[in-house]
């Protein structure tokens, strides 16, 4: 750890699969400043519920996290309002999946009731479309995140055919409230970095008790890893997850992009605890390149489309409305790009 960055990630080995509370206690013992001494009035928890598949498969978040976290948070502020949030999605089988159904079938409704937590389907909440620099389409985000909050992101330890790993940064994609997020995939690295800037988690947890290798993030093989990662910085925790899966962080495009945008290098933090890596195996190691080429082609097509539209429009204006053409050129010369 450098003197400049006293950031830490805690890796807790879990021997009793069910004892999440004990894992949290160990994490707090190893890193007492992991939780704040005071909390704002509301806390938002974002689990990873990317499909209707039980947590034991390594695909989704264990609903028992809600109760464990609720107890911890209320020990700091008894009157804190806690929300667990997720958005509707298009599943791996290309079918629409309502988040309400996911909450119900994965046991989150019962767990939330028991813990006094409100479940929020972000796709049905009030939203706001924002423009993000580097993303050609507007991004619809929940208005909830315009408010003050303490934000907890819980992800799983999984492989992903395109981004290579899922994790905390990738988990924020579920905060976009549109069910079909496929149009964003060609721009995923930049988008995930922007989303991290928009929704920086205050507490990041990667539940690696059971990881997922092979054809992640949904159709892979569960791997017992018995490790839970805790940290306050999403990039650090994701980088630690890479190490745990024996993947070079520099190979993960969205980690590279986020590090670049934050002006940081990899490895600027310390791992506390017991990290026992295991090589996670991709079923189709060449698949990543194929998808990357496909998305690069889509990005190129998109830029070409914009370029043609812009210049066709200008040519028409120049021909039929030279004054408007002059105005648009002047505006372009005078004004900057819209966006963040």
């Amino acid at each position: 750890m450098t003197a400049r960055s006293p950031r830490r990630v805690v890796a807790v080995r879990v021997h009793e699969q069910d004892d999440l509370a004990r894992a949290c206690a160990m994490a707090l013992e190893l890193l007492p400043g992991l939780l704040p001494s005071t909390l704002p009035a509301q806390v938002v928890i974002k689990p990873n519920l990317c499909d209707i598949t039980a947590w034991e498969t390594g695909v989704t978040t264990d609903p028992r996290w809600l109760g464990v976290l609720a107890r911890l948070l209320r020990s700091i502020r008894p009157d804190v309002k806690i929300y667990a949030v997720e958005a509707d999605a298009i599943s791996a089988y290309k079918t629409y999946r309502s988040c309400d159904e996911t909450f119900e079938r994965l046991g989150f409704v019962a767990a939330a009731q028991e813990a006094g937590i409100n479940l929020v389907n972000l796709s049905r909440s009030d939203t706001l479309e924002v423009s993000l620099a580097g993303i050609p389409m507007a991004v619809r985000i929940p208005q909830l995140f315009l408010e003050e909050m303490y934000f907890i992101s819980i992800a799983n330890l999984k492989l992903h055919p395109y981004t290579r790993i899922t994790g905390i940064l990738k988990n924020s994609l579920g905060l976009i409230t549109d069910a079909d997020r496929s149009e964003f995939h060609p721009h995923l690295s930049v988008l995930l970095s922007r989303l991290h800037q928009l929704f920086p988690p205050d507490l990041c947890i990667i539940d690696g008790r059971i990881g997922l290798e092979g054809r992640g993030p949904i159709l892979g093989r569960p791997v017992r890893m018995n490790t839970i990662l805790f940290g306050a910085d999403a990039l650090d925790v994701d980088e630690t997850a890479c190490r745990l899966m024996a993947i070079r962080p520099g190979k993960v495009a969205h980690l590279r992009q986020t590090a670049k945008d934050l002006g940081r290098d990899f490895g600027e933090f310390e791992v506390v605890g017991d990290l026992q890596p295991r090589t996670f195996v991709f079923d189709d190691p060449e698949g990543h390149s194929a998808i990357a080429i496909k998305f690069a082609y889509r990005r190129w097509l998109h830029h070409l489309d914009l370029f043609c539209n812009r210049w066709t429009g200008r040519a028409i204006r120049l021909r039929y409305d030279p004054l408007s053409f002059k105005k648009s050129i002047m505006a372009k010369l005078a004004g900057g790009q819209r966006g963040l």
Partner: protein, 336 residues
């Protein structure tokens, strides 16, 4: 339905709106200039045209009144008193007395009266209201509105005649901001005005400084000679909201909000729906729904009158600011 007045606003806005609301069938257009009425009727497919207002009463279920400001009250009262619901262009009238006469005529004729403050129907304005009502930027403390351009759409001579228009830049342009500020924040309690109008000519520059019922202060600037910012900025205790008046832009900052930890502001993207300004379509659709009893009128005669009242008080200088809070003490802090 009938349209009274075949001028620019009818051609550019209301006819597009009529085409955008399938429940509405245009029956007649009336204008004192018969040639103009015939031209509009032929061009846009109105089956009848006339120079006689009575023809609207006999041939329509409701009417849009888009005549010069000075005729709003006279025309609307004639229609309302005969039971014809009216959607009257803004400003409602030139004076509060005329507004009262219209409200009274609506009551007597048992006919709904709506005022065309169309910007309330814009998507981004509605979104701004939602965000303000949630209290995201805290209590609004200051409002700055600026609208004006020398290249705004062409206006008829009546806009420049004090008798016919009732006022200049503030009455014609600034009243949009006044209505929005009332709707989004609160009632105008104290006003102070400066402008370059004379008894013979309306003002081309206007500045209205005010204090609202909520305690918020601010300024509305309207101009026909300068390019202004074309936006309203609401500055709250915990952030600000910047609302575009000519484009559907919405900038927001909530100091404590999670999304603003790394960004000084967010620019909301509000897509335009065709026609380019769909607010007139939504306004007409809402009016029809209200006539059918499906919705409450959004901009009633009383609402329109309150906006006119603020302008008239400004012109008359009848409500000066309290000495304890002179104009110079009003703060205008731009968002950072």
């Amino acid at each position: 339905m009938g349209v009274v007045g075949a001028g620019v606003v009818t051609e550019r806005r209301h006819i597009l709106a009529i085409n955008g609301v399938p429940e509405v069938r245009a029956s007649i257009v009336v204008d004192k200039d018969g040639e103009r009425a015939r031209h509009v009727a032929e061009l846009y497919g109105f089956p009848h045209w006339s120079t006689n207002l009575e023809d609207v009463v006999h041939g329509s279920d409701f009417a849009i009144v888009a005549v010069p400001n000075g005729l709003h009250a006279e025309v609307s009262c004639q229609l309302l008193s005969q039971g014809i619901p009216v959607l009257c262009e803004k400003p409602m009238a030139r004076t509060v007395e005329e507004c009262l006469a219209m409200v009274e005529a609506a009551r007597r004729g048992k006919a709904p009266l709506a005022i065309g403050h169309n910007r309330r129907y814009l998507e981004h304005i509605r979104l701004a209201r939602q965000l303000l009502q949630k209290g995201l930027i805290g209590e609004v403390q200051n409002v700055q509105a600026e609208e004006g351009s020398p290249t705004d759409w062409p206006r008829s001579p009546s806009f420049f005649d004090p008798q016919l228009s009732g006022g200049g830049a503030l009455m014609d342009v600034g009243i949009h901001s006044i209505d929005l500020i009332r709707w989004l924040v609160g009632e105008f309690e104290q006003v102070e005005y400066s402008g370059n109008g004379t008894p013979q000519s309306v003002e081309s520059e206007a500045e209205l400084r005010f204090r609202l019922s909520t305690g918020a202060t601010g300024c509305v600037m309207a101009s026909r000679t300068r390019d202004l910012k074309q936006k309203i900025t609401f500055e709250g205790r915990d952030g600000f909201l910047e609302v575009g008046l000519w484009d559907p832009s919405l900038g927001i900052r909530c100091t404590k909000g999670k999304a603003f930890q790394n960004f000084p502001r967010l620019n909301a993207y509000v897509p335009r729906r065709p026609p380019q300004d769909s607010s007139f379509v939504d306004q007409l659709h809402h009016f029809v729904s209200a006539l059918r009893g499906q919705e409450e009128l959004l901009v009633t005669g009383e609402e329109g009158m309150a906006a006119v009242s603020a302008v008239c008080r400004a012109y008359s200088g009848a409500a000066p600011l309290s000495p304890a809070r002179p104009v110079g003490a009003f703060t205008s802090v731009s968002p950072t």
